[in-house]
Symmetry: C2
Subunit: 488 residues, 2 copies
């Protein structure tokens, strides 16, 4: 009979079957199941699940920035302006934003690229960040987070080129938004390894190797660089960035700079790719570029409000038009998200009523990040069998873990990757939920996991102790004989 | 030298070059230019531009529903709960929603399918709408408007099938979200004409013709039906729906029901495809279905807040998993948008503090829609050379316009479609901005335009008069001799 499903795994877009996103993968599913089991009173070797799988600061207890939330609330409900709780600069900001909304309503569609007032603010922010390098609001496209605009830009590269399938170069380890989106778009990933021995730097030699190998079968179109790194947390040196730019120039690659953690840096200066290109002079200052920023990161960390932008530098007009048409079909990004971006791009300034509270809140976010990165770095390098590069920024640690051969064997018997096995055991025995390195990619034979580090101080100490104790027991079980002294 | 752009119209994803979205096309660009010219004091034959190109109620002056805005504001800024302006049921609603947000913050990511509390509410709404037909929150995927989830579902059909390119059947006229998205995905559009002579019904004969012709070259995978119609405004009869369902069943097509105007109906009962399938019994009650709803339409009309859902009925588990993975990469839809959907799915009930104001606001929206549809229908059928089918719902009129042969000739000389020419002239001479029928598709040799009808009463009268006067002058210029008496 005809009563089969009309769409099945056998006849849907096969690219979709290749989409994986480890950050929300099976380990998280198991963690949520464990949470439900704990709620039901089922006995576990831990009293709570600690989610450390996703860079979601508010979910870890970071309070929102009051100015942002007041602006959003008042933009949604301008009648609240009479409330004594709303400072004058919030009212002024909302007046400015609503002045650019049709009939003053956030419920009207904005232009598909975003409100002009917000795009102007983004351009000003970029100019200030880059020491005056010109920036135009016409180059700014707002989106529902960086993911949204990254996907739009990657869409440009789908489809064969001169009979060859397209490829885009991505770092390994990488943030799996890239691998997931490229898989959906049917674009080959040309992987280049970050150099763990040199603080996750990019090596020109390795870039060339990756490009050369991919070019045998594919048309390599673009290069993705994540700086500060996710999951790796490094901030690239200016020299390294210059090397990368020269490589992209010589190989005719479009550069995508994922710079979403630019406000989450604890040491080292941040240079944007745009600025470095500009200051390198010709011919590099005439290269195209896409640079991504999101309000889900930085001190705002408003993940759930979905806001971000891409600056598209020196795109050909017809390419820009095609991209704009595709964005237009989806109407516009959320206007309340655009309000968040507006606040991030132009936060309260000294002398304004909201400034003191704003400054205190941001300072606390920064202090926490500094403290956690130091703690994580210190602890992970104390646990025998763990090692961790310096964490310059982002909100993650990505320690390397030695997994004994007997444990690797046990994993293989369960048809699991050794790091998946390790992280699942960690979860089952400690309640701590991290993401295995294989979800980001890693050099064969090495094993890592990514953990967020933005928990409250006590929770974070609890996590670090859990890692140390678990690893000791793991090594005992799987027969590593090394000494196990850890001071915490 | 190497200093060409690395990405050009010649080497990007060629699908993107085929994306058109007339609702935000060149006529709107010209309208915005005219607005700027008027601001500068440049003389025009009109004193203002009237935008009637997009179904954006707030942009046309419809005030937002207070309950929705209060919930959104309080969810963003829970400290405002002390404000005397916030009713108790708003506080209670926000408490319920935030109770399902991690750590009670809308700034935390929600699950990628949406908050459980909201998806539960959607399922309850669907059950009530459909007279008790079962609905599960597990079948509900929340998105940033219907566009977002429609695109996700259409993505399932990309890629060749047994060596044949895929095709999806769409109505003509259609809402160009479908043509634009299918173009981006490289899916062939198998067009079927709605029957203008029978109030835009679907004819089984025409569906078969379209399917047969497309099947010669393509694997036809799915059927899109828009009910209530956009741009056409008809509400399908139950008999017609049954015919469509039988056709989809027999041809093994997946049915996509764009039902976003289900709350914008002035006459006739609305039946969802899900309900009709269910009540038809076996085998139709075991068919798959995707049904779309958005908060941009209905009485909420919160276009800028980006919220909607798809109910995916009876999908194969592996298909669902693939779709969920692709959604997961993009994290989650805006949580404040999810709050809007929550309010729409469960508005204030009689006896609750917000009910009286809510009921008055919704009643005014409905009264306006009834009045405007009657006015539009009446007027468009009075203008000689215009004709318009009954408008059962939506927020548009799609009148047919006779364009004299000499005017068609003049258009061809400018390399324009006759209806593009007509609408551009209308804009230049009256300031009224509508979308040419060619942006939606129409039978060759027929001409239409789509206009929104939700302006304030005076503005709408002004528009209708503008159409009548313009058309009279247009016919005078291009030599039609008919009598021109119009009573307004």
């Amino acid at each position: 009979m005809k009563l089969e499903n009309t769409i099945t795994a056998e006849n849907i877009n096969r690219n979709l079957l290749n989409v994986n996103y480890a950050v929300r993968g099976p380990i998280l599913d198991r963690a949520m199941q464990l949470e439900r089991e704990l709620e039901k009173g089922i006995e576990k070797p831990f009293d709570r699940v600690v989610r450390a799988n996703i860079g979601d600061c508010h979910a870890l207890g970071q309070p929102p920035i009051t100015f942002i939330r007041q602006v959003v609330a008042l933009a949604a409900c301008p009648e609240l302006a009479s409330s004594p709780d709303i400072p004058a600069d919030v009212k002024e900001r909302v007046r400015e934003i609503l002045g650019d909304c049709t009939r003053g309503s956030v419920g009207a569609y904005s232009p598909s690229l975003g409100l002009r007032v917000v795009r102007d603010r983004v351009a000003s922010y970029i100019r200030a960040r880059d020491g005056g390098v010109p920036a135009s609001p016409d180059d700014v496209v707002l989106g529902a987070g960086a993911s949204d605009v990254i996907k739009t830009v990657l869409t440009l590269f789908a489809g064969d080129q001169g009979g060859k399938p397209p490829a885009v170069m991505i770092p390994i380890p990488q943030y799996p938004l890239f691998s997931g989106t490229l898989a959906e778009l049917g674009i080959t990933m040309a992987e280049y390894y970050l150099d763990e021995e040199h603080e996750w730097a990019l090596s020109r030699f390795e870039l060339e190797r990756s490009w050369r190998e991919a070019s045998e079968q594919c048309a390599v179109r673009a290069l993705v660089v994540i700086n500060p790194g996710n999951p790796t947390g490094q901030v690239l040196s200016r020299e390294n960035m210059e090397e990368i730019i020269k490589f992209a120039y010589e190989r005719g690659l479009f550069l995508l700079a994922d710079e979403v953690y630019q406000e989450n840096i604890v040491s080292k200066p941040f240079y944007s790719f745009k600025r470095v290109m500009h200051e390198m002079g010709a011919p590099y200052n005439r290269m195209e570029l896409a640079s991504f920023v999101t309000c889900s990161k930085g001190w705002a960390a408003e993940c759930g409000l979905r806001s971000g932008y891409v600056e598209l530098v020196r795109l050909q007009a017809r390419v820009r038009a095609a991209l704009q048409a595709a964005r237009g079909v989806m109407q516009c990004p959320t206007v309340l998200g655009q309000c968040v971006l507006d606040c991030v791009m132009k936060p309260p300034a000294p002398g304004e009523p909201s400034y003191p509270q704003f400054a205190a809140e941001v300072s606390e976010v920064q202090r926490t990040l500094r403290e956690r990165t130091a703690d994580a770095y210190h602890t992970f390098n104390q646990i025998p069998g763990y090692s961790c590069n310096p964490i310059d920024g982002s909100m993650f640690a990505f320690p390397r873990v030695e997994i004994p051969e007997r444990a690797q064997q046990a994993a293989r018997e369960l048809n699991m990757a050794p790091d998946d096995f390790y992280c699942l055991r960690l979860l089952e025995e400690t309640g701590v939920c991290v993401v295995p390195g294989s979800g980001f990619g890693q050099r064969p034979g090495t094993f890592h996991f990514r953990t967020t580090i933005l928990h409250t101080r006590d929770e974070f100490r609890h996590m670090l102790l859990s890692f140390a104790r678990f690893h000791r027991a793991f090594l005992q079980q799987y027969g590593d004989e090394r000494a196990m002294t850890v001071d915490m």
